[in-house]
């Protein structure tokens, strides 16, 4: 076991745990954000650099600080390590810089993007971004790539986290897509037009932190905050069958795997569950799913984010504009 101090909070974790996982054990606001690291995927992490933290004391044995900021998702804890995240200004400035880098070529098309409301990049930008851009040049764009009947790749939005590549390698087999090109011309693609056709290929949609990979059966159907997440299950021969249904009225608009508060999938699901079972009668409903992420989707359904709104019960829609403005 190793005892570390993270932002002044002591926590004891197993040897070999990463700093990020130790911080998640503490939970709350001190947890560094992570755009590319994904616990179930081996080898992920270290790429987006938003989880950088300052190690002010390497370990009890060797108390020297680490010279550079380190990526908390891939750096293992040492007994007696002291780490600063939200209490260190350098870390916050570096993070701000990296969010700016992630956004300079992002299209910022949230109003028409299906990921809006549950987008990691959106949350990150709200928290660490700046309100104005210093980037004057033309943004990088790509043509949309068709990856078969279910998955749409919109490369312009991609932040190259490599999660979908690892997913295709480790969850589904027969990876047909990968990263082509290099530098800011690098893109996810299949090189020769190819269909991602695999029973578990749909999971690349769940792991995508932005709206680069979207579900074609759900695209433009609705906004995520208008839908109601319900836990449900079915007897599935290929996967666990445990899913979250996103419903509106009687309609099942979308099926996803269940994700925890860090948007990480608990159990990967198969394409049949995800794309083909879009009727309530296909599922055994367990009840509403509590979404614990700092996104619009959790705020809208379970907590009212704005206070002092005059609440008039059973208000007809047409009288809304006649309300006294306070």
């Amino acid at each position: 076991m190793a005892k570390i101090t993270f932002d002044g909070i002591e926590v004891e974790v197993e040897d070999g745990t990463t700093i990020l996982q130790a911080a998640r054990k503490i939970g709350g606001d001190v947890v560094p954000p992570a755009m590319c690291f994904y616990t179930p995927l081996k080898g992920s992490g270290g790429k987006c650099r938003v989880c950088l933290v300052k190690v002010t004391q390497g370990s009890a044995k060797d108390p020297r600080p680490m010279p550079k900021l380190v990526a908390s998702c891939i750096t293992q804890v040492q007994d007696g390590m002291v780490v600063e995240n939200t209490t260190n200004e350098d870390v916050l400035n570096a993070r701000k810089g990296i969010v700016e880098m992630l956004l300079i070529n992002h299209p910022l098309d949230c109003p028409v993007c299906d990921q809006a409301g549950e987008c990691d990049l959106q949350n990150l930008s709200y928290e660490h971004g700046v309100s104005a851009t210093r980037y004057e040049e033309e943004r990088r764009t790509f043509n949309k790539v068709d990856l078969g009947p279910y998955i749409q790749l919109h490369m312009t939005r991609c932040i190259l986290c490599y999660r979908c590549v690892y997913t295709a390698d480790q969850i589904a087999d027969n990876r047909v897509h990968g990263v082509l090109g290099r530098g800011d011309a690098a893109e996810i693609g299949t090189y020769i037009e190819n269909v991602i056709d695999n029973e578990f290929s749909g999971n690349v949609i769940d792991v995508c932190p932005v709206g680069a990979l979207t579900d074609k059966t759900w695209r433009f159907k609705n906004r995520v905050w208008f839908t109601k997440p319900m836990d449900a299950h079915r007897d599935c021969p290929t996967c666990s069958g445990k899913v979250t249904l996103w419903t509106r009225g009687e309609e099942v608009l979308r099926v996803t795997a269940r994700k925890d508060q860090y948007a990480e999938v608990e159990e990967f699901i198969c394409n049949t569950c995800r794309f083909d079972k879009k009727e309530v009668k296909d599922w055994t409903i367990e009840g509403p799913r509590h979404i614990d992420r700092g996104s619009v989707i959790s705020a809208n359904h379970y907590e009212l984010p704005v206070v002092n709104v005059p609440i008039v019960p059973n208000l007809p829609v047409s009288t809304k504009k006649n309300l006294p403005q306070e």
């Binding site: 270290g46 990296i98 700016e100 880098m101 190259l160 990263v179 090109g181 530098g183 800011d184």
Partner: protein, 448 residues
């Protein structure tokens, strides 16, 4: 002329053949090491010699070798980094082309020291003709029993392979090189684990520069203590310098570390002075990735001491008034060279060569290039200079590999030392974009 260790016989006709090379004392170190020394003794000699990595970072080679993990039953590898592709650096290519057996000899002796039975020379993809020369030399060494099974009857086996890269600068970074050698996309790995623990094929690996490995035979033949006597302070031995730019005598020179920079630029045995007798404006002393220094700071340190061609002296003053020896690519600029244009050129290179794996480098290098392009072509704004400094700072130190730093340092240093020139470009776009126009306002101050 100082002592020549690497280039003593380099101009002997036919030195690229085994016969001539052996006539001039070649492969003596292999015999000495394999027959009379234990591997640890060779490592000790290299440690005593104080030899430092010649690829750019200057890490002590003996120390690097002693860090190599030696678990039972796991093979160890030595990989020679011949992916020389930094703008301004051409020493390794020249050396391998002229004297391939010197590298092969170094590889055998070093592999023996590290207990590696398979070694690789990873060569830049564009250098196909050098690859052919090396392959010929290796075939000769195999035929003479210097490679293969039971070398010289010592019971030590070694296979040496040459692997060409695809021509990406990033594959000169050691972990990207290993990925590429394994046949994957050349993306740098997250560290730790370091290659000394988990390198090529997940086995302990040492990656060394061509020049470093080629220096080992001399150390074995003449002892490390002799080698440590050459040079100055902790910069021991000799170094190949690729001198280019506006000088009378460009080319590769072997110097004893500690030669004064002024002597190196103006002496006829080295650069031979500035071309056409013009004034020296600036020098990039260690390849495009190190900070550029104006004439006054390259000749004398901020404290007024003579600057020497050594690791310590060139980095004296940190990044405020110093630079780095780097890979020894000495690029000289005369009074007619535009620093903005040159900085843009470097930024363009790093933009093109970024692997695109981590976000600050992927996005930042392109951003810097675009801003510099704008300034150079007369569309810059006053706030662009601070923007450049800020973007460089956002990249520096926040990336997986040193390419991000390498992209940020030349830009940051150019703005630090030549801010007036950048401002002139922005304030007088018409004059600055005229053909051949160069800012001379700062010249008297930096050449004084």
């Amino acid at each position: 002329m100082g002592l020549k260790i690497l280039t003593e016989h380099i101009n002997v006709p036919g030195i690229e053949t085994l016969e001539v090379y052996r006539k001039h004392g070649g492969y003596k170190s292999v015999e000495k090491a394999l027959k009379t020394m234990s591997p640890d003794e060779v490592v000790e000699e290299v440690k005593t010699s104080g030899l430092r990595g010649r690829g750019g970072a200057g890490f002590p080679t003996g120390m690097k070798w002693s860090f190599l993990a030696k678990p039972e039953g796991v093979p160890r590898y030595l990989v020679c980094n011949a992916d020389e592709s930094e703008p301004g650096t051409f020493k390794d290519r020249w050396f391998m082309e002229k004297n391939p057996h010197a590298l092969v000899e170094g590889m055998i002796t070093s592999s023996y020291a590290l207990g590696a039975n398979t070694s690789y020379i990873y060569i830049r993809g564009e250098l196909l003709f050098v690859l052919r020369i090396l392959e010929k030399a290796i075939a000769e060494a195999y035929a003479a029993g210097l490679l293969g099974k039971n070398i010289l009857g010592s019971g030590y086996d070694l296979d040496l392979h040459v692997a060409p890269g695809g021509g990406a600068y990033i594959c000169g970074e050691e972990t990207a090189l290993l990925e590429s050698l394994e046949g994957k996309r050349g993306n740098p790995r997250n560290k730790p684990p370091f290659p000394a623990v988990k390198g090529l094929f997940q086995s302990p690996t040492v990656v060394n520069n061509v020049e470093t490995i080629a220096s080992v035979p001399w150390i074995v033949n003449n002892t490390g203590a002799e080698y440590a006597k050459i040079g100055v302070g902790r910069s021991t031995g000799t170094k190949l310098i690729s001198a280019s730019g506006n000088i009378n005598n460009p080319g590769v020179f072997e110097i004893e570390l500690g030669v004064p920079v002024e002597e190196f630029i103006y002496s006829d045995q080295y650069c031979g002075g500035i071309w056409k007798g013009k004034q020296l404006k600036a020098v990039v002393p260690g390849g495009s990735s190190v900070p550029i220094l104006p004439a006054n700071l390259i000749l004398k340190t901020a404290a007024g001491e003579d600057r020497l061609m050594s690791y310590e002296s060139l980095s004296d003053g940190g990044f405020v008034s110093g630079s780095m020896l780097g890979s020894g690519a000495f690029i000289v600029f005369d009074e007619d060279q535009c620093i903005v244009r040159n900085t843009w050129n470097y930024a363009r290179f790093y933009h093109h060569e970024s692997c695109g794996q981590c976000s600050p480098c992927r996005e930042g290098t392109g951003w810097m290039e675009k801003v510099l392009h704008r300034i150079e072509y007369g569309h810059g704004h006053q706030q662009d200079i601070d923007l450049l400094v800020s973007v460089a700072k956002q990249i520096e130190g926040n990336t997986i590999c040193p390419l991000g730093d390498a992209a940020a340092w030349p830009v940051a240093s150019a703005v630090r030392h030549f801010r007036d020139e950048f401002e002139w470009h922005i304030k007088h776009p018409k004059e600055a974009t005229a053909p051949g126009a160069v800012y001379r306002g700062q010249l008297d101050a930096i050449t004084a």
